[in-house]
Amino acid sequence: MLEGKGPLFEYLIYLGDNSLILSHRLSEWCGHGPVLEQDIALTNIALDILGQARQWYQLAATISGTDLDEDKIAYLRDSNEFRNILLVEQPNTSWGHMLIRQFIYSSYITPYLDKLRGSSHAEIAAIAARSYPESTYHLRWCKDWLLRLAKGTEDGQAIMQSALDHLWDYQSEFLKAGEFEATMAAQAIAPDLQDFTPSVPAEIITGLTEAGLTIPAQNRNLSGGKKGVHTEHLGYILAEMQFLQRAYPGLEW
């Protein structure tokens, strides 16, 4: 589906995939949150991010000049055609893991969307402008919970630290430019990832420090998502998410 459609299409797919896969992971919490208010909050965040995915896919479909639509883009691709970073596909494991994953992602995507509001592509700038304020709310929600959990009991601290140690390997991929991103940056459609300094957002460092968590010394800097090389988890997500459209192509509610 990506072949021959050019870097702009691939870039939009990338933006949409990060959002779709993350929102799917978050939606797995629906009905399982620790308290009702937070179950609802997380479902709301999932919905915001899913809404963003739809915008990126709709724009990708429009510029492709084909009969593609948002559903075909979401449901009829295999994992090697997904461009999302590996972080967003990592399993929920615990409320603490979900939170660290979301905190890292929100810390990167919020300043990114802020910059993307100045894209030379008017439609992209418009979607970024709409997504950015939503994202600031997500980040603020994460920071609140990060402190609450890490500074609560010893158990809480230990769970958060182990989640951080595990997910830290996936932390750096966001700012490692894929080929399509470099092309987009050259056209001022996407921001240049080298302009994001320091490479670990200050937000992450101060948040983790305030929470009393130790930033892991080791970082394997795992990547591959932007080239379509994913962890095994993505396959399981797609198997569940795409089942209906694969079994009954074109089915509608």
Binding site: A41, G118, A126, A128, A129, Y132, A188
Partner: protein
């Protein structure tokens, strides 16, 4: 041939499903009604990107116009201008308050809201001694609040601004 005014009057029946005292015009969701060559185009702009009420609103617009015998119309969802809470009029904010939802306060941001230094008035007793229970209430656009005077829970419609930048990546 129906006039723009007639369409506008009909559409005043379409309410926001989450705040049924406000019409889509009062909420700033209805951007424009365009009539050219007998073709009617209703232009709407979504509030939050993932807002599930948008589908319901489209359906209601369809029902209202269809019931009035109008057939040749389309509903178009625009990406620009971006919806912000500035689009909710002062009169609409008062209606919101009367309905029991504290309307958005300009300049209120999430940090202020969660730092307990916010002074969101309680729609039940008017006290500003209120605090946030959850930044995400029954919908993404509202926060769940509680009043420390009358002890009633209530919802606050969060201030939402969306603007593009003028310059490219500076």
């Amino acid at each position: 041939m129906v006039s723009k005014q007639e369409i506008s009057d009909l559409l005043s029946q379409v309410k926001d499903p989450e705040i049924p005292v406000l019409s889509i015009d009062e909420m700033g969701i209805l951007e424009d009604i365009n009539i050219t060559d007998d073709k009617i185009e209703v232009r709407i702009i979504p509030t939050y990107l993932g807002c599930p009420a948008m589908e319901m609103i489209r359906l209601q617009i369809h029902q209202v116009l269809y019931s009035a015998g109008i057939r040749d119309f389309t509903i178009r969802q625009l990406n620009t201008p971006a919806w912000t809470t500035d689009r909710i009029s002062a009169a609409a904010r008062q209606k919101m308050m009367d309905y029991g939802i504290s309307p958005p306060i300009d300049g209120e941001n999430i940090d202020k809201l969660l730092s307990e230094s916010s002074h969101i008035p309680c729609p039940n007793c008017g006290s500003t001694a209120t605090s946030v229970k959850s930044a995400f209430g029954s919908t993404a656009c509202k926060a769940l609040m509680v009043c420390s005077v009358c002890k009633e829970p209530f919802e606050y419609f969060k201030c939402f601004k969306a603007a593009t930048r003028d310059t490219h990546f500076n």
